[in-house]
Symmetry: C2
């Protein structure tokens, strides 16, 4: 779970996800959308892969990356659940004194 948050915390990685939302792309195609070096992008792919958000399929000399939309959906759902968004909050005042 923590890996997914970390993966989403970088703007470059969010942009990669946005690109893969549209269609599968090779590592080189994705890199073409950035001014960053390819090794740097490779590092971002690794973070996304370790979070389970993308998957790379090797074919010949190219690797085509695809998004695991379901993992992203589940993560977002869990995030909303964790903060119990949509449900009413409890009392909204701090306890005035906390006896130890």
């Amino acid at each position: 779970m923590d890996r997914i948050y970390k993966a989403l915390s970088d703007p470059t990685r969010r942009e990669i996800i946005r690109l893969l939302r549209q269609r599968d792309m090779t590592a080189g195609e994705i890199a073409g959308n950035f001014t960053l070096s390819k090794p740097t992008l490779t590092g971002h792919f690794a973070v996304l892969r370790e979070a389970g958000l993308i998957h790379g399929e090797k074919s010949g000399t190219t690797i085509t990356y695809s998004l695991h939309l379901s993992v992203l959906e589940d993560a977002l759902a869990l995030l909303m659940d964790q903060f119990r968004i949509g449900q009413p909050r409890a009392r909204t005042t701090a306890s005035p004194k906390v006896p130890s």
Copy 2:
């Protein structure tokens, strides 16, 4: 927007949010839930405040923090929208060759 992602990327800050979801709490009360030092927690409060996720109200010597649930909700909604979750994806194959 980026500040919100960054704010959510740390487990300690997510726990602070979780605590404030239940009820408003003073800085000291929140700190009581962690083994971390108070200055460290103060730093986390600042990150959350700068992201607009919490707000501190000073009263006497204490500061009571409260969660801006609406900001969190909006951020999550935007996040889902950014990745267009719930909508169908486009073509799912990489273009075989990209002529420059």
